[in-house]
Symmetry: C2
Subunit: 427 residues, 2 copies
């Protein structure tokens, strides 16, 4: 039986359309059919217009091949401005607001030929207060957040690609909970014009997909690097070091187990593996991330906090109030420690190619009232290091487990190349 078009990767879709195997419209129809069947249970989208999506796909078919994503559907987290859909930031304050422009990332995708499906559910202001989305693997469990809708849509074959963002753990955690790939690039790798921000020292736009090739293909549109990854590891397998980090014993048994199993499996495939202790300063980073995020969010979202207090959740008000209570000295100290840790981490990469670390505390927790804990992402986000979560097996409740690969800051293409090697061998 042929694979349904909606479950193809972006790379396969683009190649199939280029070859004339199928049309962009056929792909879009398959995605929309999947959404029609599954959306009542999953709730990934906040704005979806099937007719508009089909018209865009037909326009792609009618026009010349525009770029490497020609005819590929994509989903857009609803903190990202879109000229053709309202952008509500997961908040009643901005429900129905129609921006006059596309965020740069959306426009670059459109120029590369990609076709927008619609806007996906985000937690309120990409923080903790959840939207309606359920985990497609088990709707009684959270999909994680804040990129809930994009992660669920990609995991459930509604779309091959989705935009998400991470300030604490908002890409890696939902990707891990839904069993797909989440990619948080190095800080600043993708332009943020038109993307709502909380904390400029942390905010990172990223991607959700089902294959590493798709992350590379889509990312290259945003960075203007070649889509094809180098064959860094064609001769020598990557050197992979497990870094348990200071929170190792706060995760679940299955989290520790999946890291150990992945490391052994990769060693069995020829990777040079070992363990790397975290630099001492690492133990302070989770707290530093919380301080910086709260302090900066209190500035960035001053308008909503001061002018629309009735329209924001208690969780978000607590974040801002916490930030207002942090002194400038405490903030500066957190930044000083961070700069020290960035230097300490950088030198590790002479002996290793990639760090393997927990992606989340375990399986997706039950219930839709919370989105889980970003504990295992805060430090990496703070350090601005590129991270990719890769699914590997499942836990006692039958939900996906993942590991996280972390690369040297700025060396995103080497991380992607290592992730490709790893995904091919863990699959």
């Amino acid at each position: 039986m042929e694979q349904p078009l909606n479950s193809l990767s972006a790379t396969e879709i683009a190649a199939g359309i280029a070859r004339g195997d199928f049309s962009a419209e056929a792909v879009m129809r398959a995605c929309l059919a999947r959404i029609e069947a599954r959306e009542p249970e999953v709730g990934a989208f906040i704005h979806l217009d099937a007719e508009k999506a089909l018209a865009a796909a037909r326009a792609a078919d009618a026009g010349p091949a525009a770029g490497p994503l020609h005819g590929v559907p994509f989903a857009i987290k609803d903190i990202i401005d879109t000229a053709d859909f309202p952008t509500g930031w997961g908040s009643p304050i901005y429900e129905g607001f129609q921006p006059p422009r596309n965020a740069s990332c959306v426009e670059l995708f459109l120029q590369a030929g990609a076709v927008p499906l619609g806007k996906t559910v985000t937690t309120e202001f990409a923080y903790f207060n959840p939207g309606k989305t359920a985990n497609p693997r088990n709707p009684g469990h959270t999909p994680g957040g804040s990129s809930s809708g994009s992660a669920a849509a990609v995991a459930d074959d509604m779309a091959p690609l989705g935009f998400g963002s991470q300030t604490a753990g908002s890409l890696i955690r939902p990707a891990a909970y839904c069993g797909i790939l989440g990619y948080k690039p190095s800080l600043g790798a993708y332009d943020l014009q038109g993307v709502m921000g909380l904390s400029p020292s942390l905010d990172t736009l990223g991607l959700l997909a089902r294959t590493v090739e798709d992350l590379a293909l889509a990312g290259a549109v945003l960075t203007r690097e070649p889509a094809a990854l180098g064959d860094d590891f064609a001769e020598d397998a990557p050197r992979i070091a497990l870094m348990r980090g200071p929170h190792w014993w706060e995760g679940s048994l299955e989290m520790r187990d999946v890291c150990q199993r992945a490391l052994e499996a990769l060693a069995g495939q020829g990777a040079e593996t070992g363990e790397q202790a975290h630099p001492e300063v690492f133990a302070e980073l989770t707290e530093c991330q919380k301080v910086i995020m709260a302090f900066e969010t209190a500035r960035a979202r001053a308008f909503e906090f001061h002018r629309h207090r009735d329209g924001i959740s208690e969780a978000f008000a607590d974040l801002v109030e916490g930030g207002l209570a942090i002194s400038r000295e405490a903030y500066d100290e957190a930044r000083r420690i961070t700069a020290q840790a960035v230097r300490a981490m950088d030198v590790l990469f002479t002996d290793i190619d990639v760090i393997l670390a927990p992606a989340a505390p375990g399986e997706a927790p039950a219930g839709l009232g919370a989105t889980g804990d970003p504990l295992f992402s805060r430090a990496w986000t703070l350090l601005g290091m590129p991270c990719i979560s890769i699914p590997f097996g499942s836990g006692p409740q039958g939900l996906p487990l993942s590991v996280q690969l972390v690369g040297r800051r700025g060396a995103d293409r080497r991380l992607l190349a290592a992730a490709l090697w790893v995904q091919q061998r863990l699959a």
Copy 2:
């Protein structure tokens, strides 16, 4: 004769209102009267609503003292989102667009008690295509750009404070041309939520004022540092080094002269002065800044370039087209050189406190069809170093001349303290 209220500094206005010497309404009336008299010639504002401004001032008088800027009027460059005024980015594409929120900097000013006057003219997308503003010292000459309106308004006593921004030389140049203080903080010092961006490696929000105390007072509201500057130079006068830089001979005779005269005057006041050669890598920085700005702008403003080509100027289209022609390799190389120069500059500050450098090529050029050359700011912006322009005398056409003080990246408060010392002695 008493000084008119509109010509008082922000610090004097806040203190006078706090003492009960005058009301916020009286200050606003004085500013509005000045605007009414002078705006036909100066053209600083793009959106001004006198009734709204007066109502806000009366509300400040009726309420409790809200913060350190209680009752102080301020002007807002029209690339900054405002919930109470349209925000047009100096472009016909967005003429009349009404954002649903305030940029964080505006909201923080409001929370500190400041009263918004209106939106000031910016060049198109804060690049080169000028608006209607004339230099208040001589309306046949440019006020500089891109923060044209805020600089002219502050220089002409229409407002004590204005928001501006700099990606190449958009704060320092208009401040120098209009004869006021321009302050470009260290990269990232002020939050940019709600501020249109071109190039995230360069974009910096900053302030225009007539005294260093005002820069410190207003800046502290955005950074949550103390408003009062330390007395770093109470005992030992600052060590000030003239850095001519690679473009010294491309400026005017009077530019070179004002730098030399300022250095001598400061030496005569007890400063430890000398010259500091620029690090060799510095010669490459102007070109690196152009490469990074064009490459990043082509991403950030992709929507306007691809969707509203008819609505953008030839100058802006050229910038984007230039950016699209730059390879990723050339961009990465410019960033590598920049990182090297950042390290080279940082070490200089063991022996000196502040660099003295040209602020602009000379007096404001004649004509309103262009805004002058940011040549003497590009490198400092690229390096993310804090800069303050300080007026000192005038040139052959009777227009203001300025020097620029440059501090160590991140050491903004030390730069402000040095600038205070300098302004008091050059006045």
